[in-house]
Amino acid sequence: MGYPHPSHQKENVVLSKYFGDVEARSFAGWVKRGGYEALKKALGMTPEAIIEEVKASGLRGRGGAGFPTGLKWSFMPKPSGKPHYLVCNADESEPGTFKDREIMRWTPHQLIEGCAIAAYAIGAERCYIYIRGEFTEPWKIMSAAVQEAYAKGALGESAFGSGKRIDIVLHRGAGAYICGEETAMMNSIEGKRGNPRIKPPFPAQAGLFGMPTTINNVETLSAVPHILSRGGAWYKGLCLSNPKSTGTKLFSVCGHVMRPGNYEITMGFPMKDLIHDLAGGMRPGRRLKAVIPGGSSVPIMTAAEAEAALCDYEGIVEQGSMLGSAGFIVMDDSADLVYEIYRLAKFYAHESCAQCTQCREGTAWTTKILARILRGEGKTSDLDLLLDLSEQMTGRTICVLSDSCAAPIVSGIKKFREEFDAYLSRTKAPVAVVA
C-alpha cells in the first residue's frame, strides 16, 4: 500500500499488507497474521521441491535485473561439503527507489522468513543481509527482529525443531551505492573495497568467500513466503499482461506527484493509472513531462511513452525504457530536464568505484560538460560529445554503473533536445552550478 496513504482499491496488497501496522513488526504480531507458516511448511519439503515451486511462480528478481529467481537458485551446486551462502541485498540506494526500506521497517519478519526459506532451499549455512549504512531505522528494526526470531526458535541450530540449521547475520554498509552491485557487495562483506568483480565466475560457482552464493533483493525474498503458502500457480496467475511478468510488485513513485509512496500492483497494470490515479497525478495546473521508471539508471520516458506503458518487465521495454527497481521519478512541466540529468550524472560520478577508465572518466566528464551547458558556457558540439562519451561508457565496463549514467543522458538528448538547445543558444537563463 502507498504508505503513508491508505491502500488504494486498485492496489493488490500482498507484501505491503501490513505497512503502517506497528504490531506486525514483532514476532508474535507476525505469527498472528499468519507469519512463519510458510517457513514451517518449507522445512517439511525438500529443497528441490521449494525451488520447483518458486520456478512455477514465475517470480523474477525485484532488484533491477529481473532474472528468474527459481532458476537462479537452481544454479547452486549440490552439497559438496563446501559452505554455501545466501546474501540478501538490502543496500537500496537507487535514486527513486524506497520500497525495501518500507519492507524492513514494517514487516521485518516477512523478510526473515523469506531469507530462511531461501537459505534452506539453496543449502546455505548462513544468510548475510547487507543493509546500507544510512538505513539506521531499518537496521534497528531488523536487528531486533532477527534477535527475536532466534529467541523464538525460528532461526538457529534447529529451526522450529526441524533439525535444520538456519543462520542470519546482518551486515552494515558504510556509504557506497556501488555495493548494491552483487559482486561489489560480496567484496564489501569480505572486508574489501566495494569494487565489482569480473564475471565469470558467477556467484553460484565462486561467490562470497569464494564459495557458491546466491544474491537476492529484499522484495524478491519477501515474496517467497507468500508463494510457498499460496502456491506457485496462484502467484503466476497474478498477471495482467505478459505471462513472463507475474506476481505483485511494489512501485515507488516520487517526484512531482500529489501522493508519493509505494504502490503494490499486479504486474501489467497501466502506468497511466499508477501515476494519475494511485499516486494522485500532477499538482494543479501542471502536466506530466517525463518519467524515469527504473530508478535513475534507465532511459527517460516521455509523457506519451509513460502513459502508454504497462507496468511490467516487457511493457516498459516496449515503450523505450526498463522496469529496473521500479522507482518512478515523475517530472511535470516545471522540471528542468537538463539540470536533473546533470544531477544524476553527478550522482554516478560520486558513486563510481573508479576501477574502469570508461566509468571513472566518463561519469566525471559528462558531469562537467552538463555543468558547463547549464552555466551557459556550452558549445553546439557538446551534445555530440556527450553522446560519444555515453557510447564509450556503455557495455564496456565490469559493471553497469557507467551504462546507468549514460542511459538518462542519451535518452534525454534524444527526447528532450530542445531543452539542451535552449541553454546552448543562450535563450534560457544560465544556472550557477559547479561540476
Binding site: 559452505p83 537500496e92 540506494s93 537507487e94 535514486p95 527513486g96 527507489t97 524506497f98 525495501d100 526500506r101 548462513r126 546500507r132 549504512g133 544510512e134 538505513f135 539506521t136 531505522e137 543462520d167 547475520v169 551486515h171 552494515r172 554498509g173 558504510a174 556509504g175 557506497a176 551505492y177 564489501s188 562483506i189 569480505e190 572486508g191 574489501k192 573495497r193 566495494g194 568467500f209 515507488s252 513513485v253 516520487c254 517526484g255 512531482h256 508519493p260 509512496g261 509505494n262 535513475s296 522507482g327 521519478i329 517530472m331 522540471a335 539540470y339 536533473e340 544531477r343 544524476l344 550522482f347 560520486h350 558513486e351 568505484c353
Partner: protein
Amino acid sequence: MSGGHAATGGHDAVAYEPVFVGETRAKLEALFPKYPTKQACLLPALWMVQEARGWVPPQGIAEVAEVLELTPAYVRGVVTFYTMYHLHPVGRHFIQVCGTSPCHLCGSDDVIAAILKETGCGELGATSPDGRFTVAEVECLGACGFPTPVLIDDDFIDAVTPERVPGILARYP
C-alpha cells in the same frame, strides 16, 4: 572539512585510548564466529571505532589493523572507499541531507540552504564555528517518497521543509 579540524583542534595532543578493550573488544570478538575470516569484520570494526571516537583517527586505523591481523595500509585503502567513515573530526551532530534528483525536484535546495544558514555551517562539508554541527549532502537516502529526508546522527527525519529546520535542529544541543 577544514572547519572540523578548527572546531575540535588539539586532538593530536591527546593520547590515544584503545577502543578494543573490555566490552567493545568482547563485542568485536562475538562477531568472529559469524564470518569465515577476520577480515570480514573490518566494516563492523570501523563502525565501532567511529561510534566510540566520533571519527576514525589514524591510530584507530592502526588498532583495527592489529586486531584483525591486517596492515594499516590495507585498512586505510578500505576506509577511504566508504563515505560514511569520518577521516576527520566532525561536529557533535552530523547532518546528512539528500539532494539527489527526486529530492531536488521536491525542493531540497531550499532545505539545504536553510540547514546551512541555521547551523552556521555556511557550506557543505563544513563544521559550524561552535562545533555543534557538520552538514553533508548525501547521495540518495533511499526515501524519495518522503522529501526531503535528513539524517541527523542516527535519527531519520522525513518531509523536512525549510520552515521545520529551526525546530528540528533545536533538538540537537
